[in-house]
Symmetry: C2
DNA sequence: CCCGCAATTGTTAACGTTAGCAACCGGGGC
DNA sequence: GCCCCGGTTGCTAACGTTAACAATTGCGGG
């Protein structure tokens, strides 16, 4: 050991080490190379790299210098192999509702990185349970330590149960286990508030465009809407169903508007955009003839025509919470429950109904429909 | 075969898991377990797993059954260690302009998966060169075989050069090396077409809201806009600068409208949304008083008020192409050049100017600003 | 002057897989 | 009868790292 090549007059190409791979060979350096250069054992280098406190100061400095000179990088695969820890989490995300999942993804990435984890991504376009299961399998094959799923609850139900046995999973809102109800209640409450806002403006009732059936979020929002209506003793019209997109909202909007809706609560901003468009196509002015409320508060919401009243949601925070829950679960710690990032933000797309129940206001534009 | 440790009888542990793989121990099975069960060597199992053709049919079947029974999964880390191939590519993505990068990411993911690669994601919020370099370093530490970068060209310049020496990199539009000019020309041409469309409608000139300076896309689009103006011999007004967002477009839009713009070409749909809003705030009607063109064709564009004329872009395809280029480069194959996914789609946000040079039309709304 | 302790450092053996080569086997050509 | 053959299969040694334990050192106390 400590065969200092330098003293051995190594100006040209001496046998740098036993096997004799020339030192000028640009092979990526490994622990052994650093050890040789620093004149210590591999184990000591390993200790330095991992920040073990038992290394003498002088030794550590010498090793660190050797690392810097050689440009040494630990090999993740070797490390994962021996420690049985990959320091990697997986994300299964749907791509349907672009804005939300993306922001969640960002939060996940951010939090994971901060915690020393890297993230593997699998995006699923096909939401058949089988496809989702495949996604989990693939992540499992990469030996991720946990998975965050940003997919509709129903599609992932089976997959989570199957994969959950192999690797810890957290479902999107990040409040699973005992927390699930909380996430549900929070969404429900926000939807209820949004609906109540419309009722308070004087609308006799509020129509709803729900999201896809298999999302728990859709159900929570629909239930919140229904709750507000029932509490106020108003009729509960049959909800339309959208697919989170503007196109879906547009179709559903026409349907509702044809039925005489004066207030529409859409389960996503993009669907709300479609509703506003449908109204315009029918010669109706928002908010004079019809009020529209969205959900998500996408960045554009404040700049639409008219600016959209909506429920703000902190997607990034959701992503961070997912990671937190996952990591705590991995460490068998208690996970926090509760969610308070939802807030109604009132803008110009909502107003009193055109013809309130009791009063007959001066006609202002006259619905041209 | 596997019995070597047993004959050696070295361990004091009751054979449970020291020697024989305790069949009731729920440890995850490894190659050796399958080998023992199938009565063959590890090597043969390995060959079956990898689909090597030299295994006899009967043997293969026996091994496959053992694999199924045990639920064996190859260990990715061990495999990566010995083959020196991670079958993983990295993506560095900015999160600023949500729609584009997300769709690119989806294309990347899709293509990578199809090619047997998994993807590691690092999102950068801070676009300082140093932060971007960090992102590359992190991916390198995960021993990715290549990196796709969806970040502004300038921020990644340094990082790509640094990291490029260690691992192959492809920059977002996916046509680098000799292809870069092509991507540039395609964007330029599309912007030129969009601008020409406005001129053909009768506008004396067209104002422009550019994207952030450090994106090559911004420069290409601005140049295309300028080219169209120069070709038509029109004055070239000073362009405003946005940040891809509706908020930025809103501010820039006010600026341009105050300067009397009748036609605005925004470098992104979200900025165009901001412009339309700014127009509305000034009592201007789109397209009667001012025409607006966007870029991207986000899914909502067709449902805005009014539906937005814009340049369609196939982001997913871009992502796929990035992977293709990367993989071909890894195999030292020729990479294709060229890009033809851009197309102007004309909708209702563009029309003739309110007061063409020669005629004096009846004033219709009168700007209340 | 020796013992033991604490602080360091080194040695050995995994981790689960694949590559390279050796070994085996039944059969046909000479 | 011998040798070589292609088709299979097995053995051994890596790959780069960490865990567990052993060895070495310096130092104060008995």
């Amino acid at each position: 050991m400590a065969g200092s090549e330098q003293t051995a007059a190594g100006s040209d190409q001496p046998a740098a080490d036993a096997a004799g791979p020339g030192r000028d060979l640009p092979r990526t350096p490994v622990l052994a190379d650093v050890a040789e250069r620093a004149g210590v054992s591999q184990q000591t280098v390993s200790r330095v790299v991992r920040g073990s406190p038992v290394v003498a100061r002088r030794t550590r400095e010498r090793v660190e210098q050797a690392i810097a000179e050689l440009g040494y990088r630990p090999n993740a695969a070797a490390r994962a192999l021996v420690t049985r820890r990959s320091h990697r989490i997986g994300v299964v995300a749907t791509t349907t509702a672009v804005y939300g999942p993306t922001m969640v993804l960002q939060g996940v990435q951010e939090a994971a990185r901060a915690a020393g984890y890297s993230v593997s991504l699998v995006m699923v376009t096909d939401l058949a349970p089988e496809a989702v299961t495949d996604a989990f399998e693939e992540l499992h094959a990469q030996s991720v330590e946990g998975v965050v799923a940003v997919v509709p609850e129903d599609a992932s139900q089976h997959a989570v149960q199957t994969a959950g046995a192999l690797v810890p999973c957290v479902l999107a809102p990040g409040l699973d286990g005992d927390g699930v109800p909380d996430a549900y209640w929070a969404e429900l409450a926000a939807a209820r508030t949004a609906t109540a806002h419309l009722l308070r403006l004087g609308h006799r009732t509020v129509h709803h465009i729900a999201g896809p059936q298999d999302w728990a979020e859709s159900r929570a929002r629909a239930t919140g809407w229904r709750t507000a209506l029932v509490e106020a003793g108003r009729p509960v019209p049959h909800p339309a169903r959208g697919d989170w997109t503007a196109a879906g909202g547009h179709a559903a909007g026409h349907e509702l508007l044809a039925a005489g809706a004066t207030a529409v609560f859409a389960a996503s901003d993009h669907m709300a955009i479609g509703v506003v468009r449908a109204a315009a196509e029918r010669g109706l002015v928002v908010p004079d003839d019809v009020s529209v409320v969205g959900y998500d508060d996408v960045p554009e919401a404040a700049y639409l025509n008219p600016p959209l009243t909506t429920v703000r949601q902190d997607f990034t925070e959701i992503g961070r919470r997912c990671v937190q829950v996952l990591l705590r679960r991995l460490a068998s710690q208690e996970v926090p429950a509760g969610r308070d990032d939802l807030a109604l933000v009132v803008r110009a797309s909502t107003g009193p109904p055109p013809a309130p129940a009791r009063r007959t206001p001066a006609p202002r534009h006259g619905a041209r429909a």
